[in-house]
Amino acid sequence: MSGIAQKLASNQKQVAISEFFEKNKHFLGFDSLARSLITAVKEAVDNALDACEEARILPSIRIEINKIDPKKDIVQLIVEDNGPGIPQKSIEKVFGQLLFGSRFHAIRQSRGQQGIGITGVVMYCQLTTGRTTHVRSKIATEPTAAVVDIGLDTRKNKATKANAGREIWYNEDGSSKEHGTEVTAQMKAKYQKGRQSVWQYLRMTSIVNPHAEIIFVDPEGERHHWTRVTERLPTKVESIKPHPHGIELGQLQRMVSESNDLNLNHFLLNNFSGVTNRARKELCQAAELEGTRKMRAIKGDDIRNLLEAFQGERLVNGQPAKLLKPPTNCLSPIEEILIKKGLSKTIDSRFVTTLTRVPNVTQGNPFQVEVGLIFGGSMAGDKPVEILRFANRVPLMYQQGGCLLTKAIESVDWRQYGLDQAGGKGVPKGPAAILVHLASTNVQFTSEAKEALADNGEVMEEARKAMLEMGRGLRKHLDKKKKMAKTKEKFELINDILPAIAEKSAQLLNRPVPELSGSITKIMSAVISESTTVWNKATKQTDVDIVLFNYTSRARAYTILATWPEKSGATMENNDTGGRKEALGVWAWKLDALQPGERKSITFSLSGLERGDWTETEVLFRGSQDVIGATKMDEKFLQEIRRQEQLFKESEDENPPSEQTLDQAPVASAPPVVEEVAEPAVAPPEGQRTLFGGDV
C-alpha cells in the first residue's frame, strides 16, 4: 500500500532523494513531459477530492494550465478547490513531506494509494524549473488565507518555505472565499490532447465523481465544464484493520515490533479484522505460541510461524484457523445510479446500463467491481469501444492492454450481445464505452507505475460476470429497439397505409369504402404495449404510462409487471390501478379481461428521484399470448431479484457497526478458512441482475 514510501525509505540513506526521483521517475508518473503534467493534475485533484470528501463538502475544482515558455516547455498549473483548507502550520507538512509514517493500521479505500502525492509535484517543479510552489489556503474559521512558497530540501527530506504570510482571498466575482486551497506550480511539461491527456483525465474523473464540479481552462483559454449531477457525496468509508489473510511478512514484523499490546492475545484481537476470540485461540495453537507471550518476546521464527498460521499453512486439528471475513463497509462504490449519471453527462448516447456487484474478498482484502456500458448516440461505430478504467475512483490512463480490467472485457464474446468483435476476442468494436471500476482496500498493480491492475482470479471473475450481465442488458435493449421499430411500422401500416388502400381501391372500383377493423385485427394479430417514462417538471416526479392494446379477436388476460427504482429510495404515487409488490423494484397489476379492440392504461408517478435518474421502465407480462413491446416474465429473473434483495439484507447484517469483542461467539458452521479465502464475502448469485440502469 505504501510501496513507494517504503522504497524511498529504504533508499534514502544511500542516495539523495532527488537522485532517486530522477532514477524512478517512470514509477512516479514523471517519465514524459506530457505524462508529468497529467500526474501533477492528478495529485492535486485527488487531494482536493479527498479533502472535500473527508469534510463532507461538495467539491468544485478549477484547473488552469498556461504555457509560460512554449519553447522550453514550461507550463504553469493552477488547481483551486473549495475544500476545508489547510491550517497554516500544516501546509508545509502536506506539501513538503515526502515520507509520512506508514499507517498500516488504517486500511480503507482511498485515492491516495496511487501516487507519490502532491509532494512529488513540488519536487518535480523544483527539479525542472528551480521554482517553488505557491500555496494559498483558507480555513473557514480564519478571516484570511495563509500563503506560502514551498520548496523541498531533498537532502534532509524537509520542506523549505519562503514568503509566508496572510492575505484576503477574493473570488473572481469579488466576494471573499470561505475556504479552499489553491496550488500554483511551474514545471517543465507539455500539454497534449487526445486519449492520454489532462482533458481525458478530468473527463474520466468527472464520470466517477458525479458529485464534483470540475472546470478546466486549457492553454488555449477554452473552458471545459463538467457539471455536478448529484448532491450526494460518496459514502464515508470506514477504516478497517488488516485481515490476517492479506498480511505479508514485512508488515507483520513491523506490526509486531511497533506493538504496544500487552501480549499476543491482545495483539491479535486489537490489530486485525476477522479475528474472533476463538480464532485467536486457534491461531495461537496453530502457531504453537502461548497467547500470553509478551510482544517483545516474539521474534523471527515466531513471526514466521504466526504468518503460516494466518495463511492456513499451519493447522489446528487438521484444519486452518477459522477466521471471519473482513467487513466490507470500508468500500465506497460509486453506485449504479451515479455511474449512470456520470456516463450520461459526459457521453451522448441512447442507452446506459450500470451494475455494482456485491462486495467480495480476495486474500483478506475486500473489493467490489462496478461496471457501466453506454451505447449509441454520437459515438463512432467502427472503432474499438472506449474503455474507461478506474481503481478507487482514480482513472487509469496508461497500459490499457496489460490491465486486468481490460482482460475482463476482452474475455467476453461481445458478438452475442450486439457488438462487433473479431473472432469473439479482444476489445469489441461499436458505438459504446465500457467503464470498469475496482474499489478495494488493496489495489494490486502490475508495477509501481500503477496504471494497470495485476491479474487476480477473483477480481477477474467478478468483473467478467458483471460484463456478461451488462452484455445481456445491451442485447435486450437492442432487441427491444428492433421490436419497437417493428411495432411502429405496424402502427403506420394500420393507421395510414391500410386506410389509404381501402379508399383508393374503393374509388377506382367506384364502390363504398370498406370497414377496416377486421383487417386491422388480422394484420396486427397481437397485443401491443407502449410505455413512456418522462420527467414531470411541475411535480418533480417521474411519470410512467403503460398502455395495452388488444388487437386480437379474443379477450385476453394478463398480469403486467413493471420495474421501478425502489432500491434507490423512490416511492410510487398516483398508482390508481393498484396492483401489488412482486419483488424489490417490481410491481404487478392484474388485468382480467382486455376485450378485442380494447385499450387499457396503467399510470403511476415516482417521487424521490432527480431528473434523469429513471428514464426507461421495463414492462413485463405473464400470460399466454405474446405482448409486443413487453418482455415475457422470466420467473428465474424474479428469483434473482429476490435473492439479490436477500443479499442486500445480509450484507447489511454482516457489517455491524461495532467491532468484535472477546466474548463474541464464533460461527459454529463456518466453512474452513482455506475455502473461505476463495469464497466471496457473500456468495454473489450467478447472473446478478442489473436492478438499476437501462434494461434488465
Binding site: E489, K490, E492, L493, D496, I497, L498, A500, I501, A502, K504, S505, A506, Q507, L508, L509, R511, P514, E515, L516, S517, G518, S519, T521, K522, I523
Partner: protein, 365 residues
C-alpha cells in the same frame, strides 16, 4: 402475345387487381396481390413455345408488413395513373412515373427500381404489356449495321425506308423502344446471319475491319444486358427473315446470363418470353475453352463471379450438358476473359482468325 389490348381491356384487367384487394378488406382480411414467384426456382421450359416461362408457384403479397402494404398502395396509384393516361391518350416513361409518384404521398416510390418492378408486376398479373399501359422504358435500344432494310414510322407518322448499311453513319441504325408492327416493318436483307455483340468496342472493331460485308452479316450492339426492344427486334429478324443469330460476348458468368435472356428468356420477363426470346440463338464465344485454346489474357474470378456461376449451375436454363461443362470449366480455370482480350494477337486477329474459326464450327463461314 404481341397482340395489344384495347384501353377497355387493359382497364378491366387492372380492376381485377384492385378488386382482389378490395374484396379481401370487405371480408375482414388483409388486402393481397397474387403474382407468380419471379425467381429461377419458378421458371420452366415451355415445349410449345420453346422458351422458359413462369411456373405455377404463386406468391401472395399481403399487407401484413409495412413494405408489402406500401407496395399495394403504390400499385393502386399506378393503376389510377395509367387509367388517367389511357383516358387522355398520353404516355410517359417509367422514370416520369417515378417522379410523378412524388405526389402520391405514402404511395410514392422509394427508388426507380421500385417503379420498374411494379410496372412488371402489373404486366404479369394483368397479362397486359407495358405498351398497353402507355409506359415507355428509359433504356435505349441497340445499334445495328448491315445490309438490311426496314421501314420505320417517324414522329410525323411518315414511313421512312432505311438501309442499315447505306443510310446510316458509323454508329449504325438506332433501334427505337417500340419495334412492333405499327412502328417498324422488316423489308429485305442480303445477309446470312445476325451477330449480337456485347461491347461497343468490339462492335466498332468489327465495323472498322469491314466484317459485316466480308462475312455477309448484320451486327447488333447489345449494350450489356439487352433492352426489351433489342431482344424483340432480334426475335423478329430471326423469325421473319429466318436468319440464324450468333451471340458474341465476354467470357464471364454475366455474359452467360445475357445469352440465356436472349435465347431462353429472362427470369424477370418470363411472362413474355415467347415474345422476346430467340430460341435459335447460338453462343459463339468467348467460351471457357477459348480462354485455354487461344491462351487469352484473363482475370481471376471474383467472389461474386463464383457465386454467379454456382447459381447458374442450378438454373434450369443452363441445365444442358454443354452449359454445365462450360460453367464447370470456368470454375475450374478460375478465370474469365473479355472479348477485347483477343487484341493480344493484333487488331485483326478477331476478324481474320477467331471469328472465322468459330463461325466455321457452326457452318456459317
Amino acid at each position: 402475345m404481341s397482340r395489344m389490348h384495347t384501353p377497355e381491356e387493359t382497364k378491366a384487367a387492372m380492376h381485377e387487381v384492385v378488386a382482389e384487394m378490395y374484396d379481401r378488406i370487405v371480408k375482414g382480411e388483409p388486402p393481397t396481390m397474387t403474382l407468380p414467384v419471379r425467381t429461377k426456382n419458378n421458371i420452366a421450359f415451355d415445349k410449345k413455345l420453346g422458351v422458359y416461362k413462369y411456373g405455377k408457384k404463386q406468391s401472395i403479397r399481403d399487407a401484413t408488413s409495412l413494405g408489402s402494404a406500401k407496395q399495394l398502395l403504390r400499385a393502386l396509384h399506378v393503376v389510377e395513373f395509367i387509367e388517367e393516361m389511357l383516358d387522355a391518350g398520353k404516355s410517359s416513361t417509367l422514370r416520369e412515373m417515378y417522379y410523378i409518384s412524388e405526389g402520391w404521398g405514402m404511395g410514392k416510390f422509394g427508388s426507380q427500381n421500385d417503379s420498374n418492378n411494379l410496372a412488371e408486376d402489373l404486366e404479369i398479373v394483368t397479362k397486359c404489356l407495358r405498351e398497353d399501359f402507355k409506359l415507355r422504358p428509359e433504356e435505349d435500344g441497340a445499334r445495328m449495321i448491315g445490309n438490311l432494310t426496314l421501314r420505320e414510322r417517324n414522329r410525323r407518322g411518315e414511313w421512312m425506308r432505311i438501309n442499315a448499311r447505306d443510310d446510316v453513319g458509323d454508329s449504325g441504325y438506332g433501334v427505337p423502344y417500340n419495334v412492333e408492327l405499327e412502328k417498324i416493318e422488316l423489308l429485305e436483307h442480303d445477309i446470312d446471319f445476325i451477330m449480337a455483340i456485347e461491347t461497343g468496342g468490339m462492335f466498332d472493331r468489327l465495323i472498322e475491319n469491314g466484317f459485316d460485308e466480308d462475312y455477309r452479316c448484320g451486327l447488333l450492339h447489345l449494350k450489356g444486358q439487352p433492352a426489351r426492344s433489342t431482344r424483340r427486334i432480334m426475335k423478329r429478324m430471326s423469325e421473319e427473315w429466318d436468319l440464324p443469330v450468333v451471340v458474341f460476348l465476354d467470357g464471364d458468368p454475366w455474359s452467360f446470363r445475357i445469352f440465356a435472356s436472349i435465347a431462353y428468356g429472362a427470369i424477370k420477363t418470363a411472362h413474355i418470353s415467347e415474345y422476346l426470346a430467340t430460341p435459335s440463338a447460338t453462343y459463339l464465344g468467348i467460351t471457357a475453352d477459348d480462354i485455354v485454346a487461344y491462351d487469352l489474357p484473363s482475370d481471376d474470378l471474383s467472389k461474386k463471379d463464383i457465386e454467379a456461376l454456382n447459381a447458374e449451375l442450378s438454373d434450369p436454363r443452363f441445365a444442358d450438358s454443354w452449359w454445365q461443362d462450360q460453367i464447370n470449366m470456368m470454375l475450374e480455370l478460375d478465370k474469365k476473359a473479355e472479348q477485347q482480350s483477343l487484341a493480344k494477337y493484333g487488331l485483326d486477329f478477331v476478324t481474320e482468325t477467331y471469328l472465322p474459326e468459330k463461325l466455321a464450327e457452326l457452318g456459317l463461314a
